[in-house]
């Protein structure tokens, strides 16, 4: 029994604006593919016909941050790249979410070294972490579904009056 069946019977449904909006938001999360290294290959696989990220409404990979809701950081983030990632994140319109895909992004992974940021949560608010090196496409889809669950619970007031912040550089 779908929406059509209810509409035919009663002609209307009752809901809240928040529920409708968050439902719409979670069903079309447009990712910004921040594919920086090997994990990107699995992210690309997740978009192919076999894994088909379109089933979750996220097939629209936009290479401009202006049209994105979700940044999938897929790959090793170096200190040099961190500024770029942060700048792109800042350009995304609110509301926005971040998936840390893979061991490197989540914790530095095997690169315990001077050049690699030991976890992007040092400079980005991460919503979902994905384990694996690289994570399988199923794992990314799982992360997306987890995120959808999270988005589904949001209310409009959660996003109000978020101040615009300028990019500031600190030292590591």
């Amino acid at each position: 029994m779908g929406l059509e069946a209810i509409l035919q019977k009663d002609g209307y449904v009752t809901t809240t604006i928040d529920a409708i909006v968050s439902w719409a938001r979670k069903s079309s999360v447009w990712p910004m593919p921040m594919g920086i290294s090997c994990c990107a290959i699995e992210m690309i696989s997740a978009a192919d016909p076999k894994y088909d990220i379109a089933r979750f409404g996220s097939e629209v990979m936009r290479f401009t941050p202006r049209q994105c809701d979700l940044m999938i950081v897929a790959g090793t983030v170096t200190y040099k790249m961190a500024q770029v990632v942060r700048r792109i994140y800042d350009q995304m319109p609110e509301p926005k979410w971040v998936i840390a895909m893979g061991a490197c992004t989540s914790s530095g992974g095997m690169y315990r070294s001077y050049s690699v940021v030991q976890g992007i949560d040092q400079f980005l608010p991460v919503d979902v972490y994905t384990a694996g090196c690289p994570p399988r496409p199923e794992n990314l889809l799982n992360a997306l579904m987890t995120l959808q669950e999270k988005i589904g619970k949001t209310k409009a007031r959660d996003f109000q009056n978020r101040p615009l912040v300028d990019l500031e550089l600190a030292q590591n």
Binding site: K80, Y89, Y114, S115, L124, R162, L169, A170
Partner: protein, 164 residues
Amino acid sequence: MDVKALIVEKVKEKFGSSLEEVSDFRDDLCLTIKRDQIVPLGNFLKNDPDLQFSMCKDVTAIDWATRKNRFTVVYHIHSFKLNFTLRIKANITDESNSIESVTSLWKSADWYERETYDMYGIKFVNHPDLRRMYMPEGFEHYPLRKDFPLLGIPGSLPFPKKAE
């Protein structure tokens, strides 16, 4: 005539005492030359009609850490005529950590020397554009030196603040 014997004989004849060492380890011929002779040697190897080492495949360095002369610069050059790759080493013997650039001979050495400068802090004199390559401009350390800590030096790299 054997290729190695030919190269060694020709270089010995031309450079004599500037040639510090000739080694042939695991079929790799390696010449160690005095630091100030690196460009004349390269010039000779490149332009001698019997040798024609026209390609520079790599420039890197070794940090010996505890030795007095800490750095050795290593070149790999290739001759298509002989189908042979030769290794040249030059020990840096003073505190200035500098050596003449070979970019005037091999254009490809440009970025190799920049990388070596970035990682070891070796200054290549007369290099056209000796800037950092991997590390950001303004970084003060040289990561591949043995005394550089693996996890880096806190506060040495610019890093964005946490977003809201």
